[in-house]
Amino acid sequence: MPSAGQDIASVIKKQIEEFGGELSMVDVGTVIEAADGVARIHGLSGVKYSEVLSFPGGVLGMALNLEENGVGAVILGDYLGIKEGDEVKSTGKIIQVPVGNDMLGRVLDPLGRPLDGKGDFSSSDTFPVEKIAPGVVERKSVDQPVQFGLKIVDAMVPVGRGQRELVIGDRVTGKTSLCVDALINQKDSEILGVYVAIGQKASKVAQIVSRLEENGALDNTIVVTANASDPAPLQYLAPYAGCAMAEFFMSQGKDVLIVYDDLTKHAWAYRQMSLLLKRPPGREAYPGDVFYLHSRLLERAARIDANFGGGSITALPIIETQAGDVSSYIPTNVISITDGQLYLEPDLFNSGVRPAVNSGLSVTRVGSSAQLKGMKKVAGSLKSEMAQYASLATFAQFGTEDLDSVTKRQLERGARLTEILKQDENSPLPYENQVTIIFIANSGGFDDFPVEEVRRYETEWHEYVNANLPEVMSDISKSEEINEENEIKLNDAFSAFKSTMTK
């Protein structure tokens, strides 16, 4: 494809000279049946699995069921114009998407076509949509963190580069919001983002795009979207296409954070496709390979050894549960594939604890080895305090009058720590601020403030410490540690801060 600057005349000249030069034999077939986005085609005897087919009118399809008498294909686009008897050509290409740096900041469909009206982009290459995940030799264990900018995640359930962390919860518990916050926090980091929307409302996707844009994170993010109104095959392709785009960056040695929002709808789309292709249904009418559907996708998240070029893909798949049922088919599948989960609870969400992460039920299997030293130090005691608080809080529902002073103190501390871990949307907190606030809260700094005032004092403390102790903050940020000297300085500063506040 010539770029705008290229001499178009020379290209045409070449075309004229070679006119008729490229002759190739293509496989053709005839549509014998077309319904609900699926076509049965007679002929096409030489077609390969997941090869792109060309229907009349420029509509593309993908060959999926290669059978004795023909081919079952899904139609990637408007299937209403396809009739019985139409001629279908094979293209000889396995399904692939364009990849490249120019795609950052764009909203694309799963075939890499722009949807944001900003015109064409130049792509340097194409990558196959389906790719076998990196093997054992190329991989490296997770040892670098992805900073979410959210205290509760970075401190309690840290996620490392190359990890697959499931975000699971009922509807409206802030799953998408949490993931978009994580993407927003990467605006100044070297991590690139890919947000894949599968079967979402177009209005919600538009909202997310504008949220990313307003917070300056769209420029290093690709949004791949197959909306609820798009045909199921496009929704099925979306996460693989997004992953292929991410793999391009990984192949350049870059780190990528990819959000699949959400895999429940992806499984639905695949179920629809499979049933229409007459593949036998299994449990809950999902086809037999629904586990492999997600396992092969999530295996492609990896951290590559520097000897093989480095780079990583961190995956945040989202699963929406029905009425908190994490033990149904698709959630258990994805839980078993991923390296841990962030469990979001409607009760927490409704009682104002946002992000509504249940720190007791959330797990990270590899992330803690990637946690930065300073955070690890302060998070240890935070975790045990929160665990104790969680068990006491249920007990204390029946009244706190008769409790001993130690228990009372623990309840008071827990309530304040819960306040500290709350965080608004679009307000990621830098690493050094997270460390200092958790350090102060752990040492009981906020115990003298009323619970409902804690968040206000937290904000003021961040401002205070950024203004008055810049050298301590930059030291923590650079060394990634918190040494004793700085601890003393922080404690002193907090006493001073407290006296100005209580005056």
Binding site: S24, V28, E68, N69, K89
Partner: protein, 177 residues
């Protein structure tokens, strides 16, 4: 439901054993002309019509064909596969062609090709198809403007001017963006 391919293979094997290939081929092609009549197919495929009525109908319609071919029609009717007889016929024809090493080629051009050129085309096609004979059927279609479209079974070689011009148009439109 049994695939028409199975019927075709089975009948073809019997035809080879009895060396009745050409006779049966003719009969099958004749049967398919009769079965093109929708009323006959409806009668034979209807689950409401008793089997003996269907069989009587077959006996009267196809009185002059070989017993084994007739048996195939009985069998396909009983299995309710008779609607796929046309597909069966095509596959049977393909099997016969394969047996005699005949490759059928459909050639589409904008103008009628003179006979000597057809012979030339046959020779050049023989080089890359399996078999010893090439049979060409010609179709004239002015819409393709010029050039030639050759169709061999599932494969198509499209060297028509129309496609080339379309390809060029796509290329230029993409390039200009």
């Amino acid at each position: 439901m049994i695939s028409p391919q199975r019927y075709a293979k089975a009948l073809f094997e019997i035809a080879i054993e009895k060396s009745l290939i050409n006779e049966w081929l003719k009969q099958i092609n004749n049967i398919s002309l009769i079965l093109d009549n929708e009323d006959v197919i409806v009668l034979l495929d209807s689950p409401q019509v008793p089997e003996n009525v269907k069989f009587d109908g077959i006996e009267t319609l196809f009185s002059d064909i070989d017993l084994l071919v007739k048996n195939l029609i009985f069998l396909m009717t009983r299995n309710r596969d008779i609607t796929k007889f046309n597909l069966f016929k095509d596959i049977f024809n393909d099997l016969v062609d394969k047996h005699f090493e005949i490759t059928r080629v459909q050639v589409k051009t904008a103008n009628q090709i003179p006979t000597n050129q057809i012979e030339k085309l046959k020779e050049s096609l023989l080089e890359f198809v399996e078999g010893s004979t090439v049979e060409i059927s010609q179709i004239v279609d002015e819409n393709i403007l010029g050039g030639i479209i050759i169709r061999i079974g599932d494969k198509v070689i499209d060297a028509s001017s129309k496609t080339k011009i379309n390809n060029m148009k796509d290329f230029l439109l993409k390039g200009a963006a």
